[in-house]
Symmetry: C3
Subunit: 305 residues, 3 copies
């Protein structure tokens, strides 16, 4: 009885509170397919690393054949759904073309991704081998999938690229929008909490630590109060820049010049010239003995200034 | 042989080092059931989004029926276990009542969650459609499950609500305690590292960025040195407030007034009046050329002041 | 056709762009086995918590038997692969010895982990029971697996320990290197974004909040430009220290003295004496009314100084 009335109320709410229903609409990309595409993609990019058994060279052509066909089939289906969603007049034909173009980029992507692994090895004394990096550094998954999703983004496929980078975000805490343009030798150490916005650009040999944000500081809205989409609003980062943990750098006209270093926990809304170092004055930091009441028993004043 | 002695030592340690054993006690909630409840809940809240196939309107009543019965059955079992754990004298009867009451809130929860999706669309220029938000924005999962878990929390169900929000935390990096009271149109962009404490309250049209903490600064302990539970210790956030990345706002008497903006990376232990802006002085930021020794070959002085 | 040429190009790229291929090499540890080892390990450490059904005391010896044998078998295989990778001359014999030694540490690890749960209960007013902590606090998984992986690290097993802690990092956002040495009663609240480096040491009764970094500030490179591995480069934290959210503490000669408190969002490159408190001057924080242009309609100046 009771469950029946809850059911009726829910069905009624589907009628009155639309906007979060998706009924009788075009088919949306399948999360499960996105997951499989992402996993297969990592296998193709790093042969021999993620297989359960040792991969002999003679078995590689067969594996590549299987993986390519599987990704190709799935990707075409999901791209077609996405294009249908954005009212593409020829979703089927375009989906096939997009799929082939993106898969054709894989060898080139491998070249870039190889430089990322190299950058991790050179950038972290804790990294003892390429194998350790590929199997246990979260940036490898996040950056590789972003590079793949970026190709779909460039070909104007909606929704799907963001679902692919979100697969990486969920597993690594690294949130790179598929729109971001990233140079070679890119290393993100640890990575949790890193956010790189849609219109950010990043040079080569850039190193970020956990929690770094390349974000927007403000944005235009139209006369309905909705944000204008697609405007440049995230920073540009030059070559050889290192940015320490939890630095927050905002704005579409903010530029960090080549060879510069940005300190951790900095809140930066302005540009930094090349060959510079940016940090908060250390004399603003106070270190002093704790007062008696700060260690009183019965009431823990963990934090009292 | 060796394994046998390890086994004996472990069994002995179960006897001597209690506190992390749970043997012969009441049955605790099952993580697998919590996972299934959380997933089914998202399906009920967002029909047509997370199904593998396109959902036709005519198939919705059947789907709702199936989902409601499945959640109802599982939830009742897990609530009963939780109530037994807190020594409820009538866990069976109460579990049934609690389950029905919480499921009955679903249509109302959908109304609030719909405003959250709307706030994401209006709050992020990168969001191109509601579909993209629902399928690829982590805040949707984290906030929706918190709103659901909050209903269980209000009905004094122990453990289970926290397991449900932790399902969201694990997948999104957004940690909202089920106790927090949250208004409509709530948007968390990116979200990784956001922490919202048990006794926090949040007005409507609030926007948080990644890494924002609404936390406690100190707490009372009883004469055994254990913290006194249930005391107000987290901030209150007014309507239309925006808080930038990694701002840390602490204290139960800290209030951020309506229409105010808090800058990123701020460490804030005091209240902010309405219509204000709070940030660290930019003249404390030093930007200067790197010194020669900072770019010495052979020893990378990534960071030298 | 087209797919065939992509396949050829990929196969060619495997030849020319090595370094991220692993073909015909030694077998690397299996991610799936690592996952199973991690899960079984949590069952052994916390009997009665993660079983789907209530665990009766009389069934414990049988369960321990099954779990120990399963972990033992898997661990030996994965340790052997790892040792083969680092060219151990007797990987089989050593793998067996290492496995037995590490499993033999489990009772001792339980003693330490029990103190961690106790510290969480005493450190967080939101924690209502040990059960809630074990089942819903992410630090329990992250710290327990790090303590386990640390034993493998101490026995010079490559890659595998890092894969085990990465299992925890992926699920909790807490990234503790297996090399870190950690005292008893360790509590990390919320945890997302915490990073603890390889050569960090942590005393007993230490409490960290989300986003705390114990990292490196610079490192030596050899004459090929590769970082010198294994050098002390992360901080030492004394007993009874509390470090608030998003504090970034860097450097191998940085020491936080016993009983000290470090404020949130602090960027700290120097040592702090015992019984101290370290924070940024609050008079650097500006709180002032928003200006008219900051709330202009038509252009949201979310952030304008």
């Amino acid at each position: 009885m009771k469950l029946d009335s809850i059911k009726s109320a829910l069905l009624a709410s589907y009628e009155t509170d639309g906007g979060i229903n998706h009924l009788d609409g075009v088919n949306l990309p399948s999360q499960e397919s996105v997951n499989e595409i992402a996993r297969d993609c990592m296998h193709l990019l790093f042969p021999g690393y993620f297989e359960e058994r040792r991969l002999a060279k003679k078995d590689v052509p067969g594996l590549v054949d299987t993986l390519l066909k599987r990704i190709g089939t799935r990707l075409e289906v999901e791209v077609e759904k996405s294009l249908r969603f954005s009212k593409d007049p020829h979703p089927g034909t375009h989906a096939r073309a997009v799929t082939m173009e993106v898969l054709g980029k894989l060898p080139e992507l491998r070249k870039a991704i190889r430089t990322d692994v190299e950058a991790a090895y050179r950038g972290d004394p804790a990294a003892r081998s390429n194998e350790e990096i590929i199997m246990a550094y979260p940036c490898v998954l996040a950056i590789s999938l972003q590079r793949f999703a970026h190709e779909l983004y460039e070909l104007k496929v909606p929704i799907l690229p963001r679902m692919i980078t979100e697969f990486g975000h969920e597993r690594t805490g690294i949130d790179i929008h598929p729109g971001a343009r990233i140079g070679t030798h890119f290393f993100i150490d640890h990575g949790t909490g890193v956010v790189i916005g849609e219109t950010a650009t990043i040079g080569s040999h850039v190193k970020l630590y956990q929690g770094v944000t390349l974000g927007a500081k403000s944005f235009e809205v139209d006369n309905q109060g909705n944000p204008v989409k697609g405007v440049k609003r995230h920073p540009d980062i030059g070559d050889n820049v290192t940015i320490y943990a939890h630095a927050t750098i905002l704005g579409g006209d903010t530029y960090i010049g080549a060879n510069s270093v940005v300190g951790g926990n900095v809140w930066l809304l302005e540009s930094v010239p090349a060959n510079s170092i940016a940090y908060f004055k250390s004399d603003d930091l106070i270190i002093r003995p704790r007062q008696r009441k700060e260690v009183l028993v019965g009431y823990i004043e963990d934090w009292v200034i």
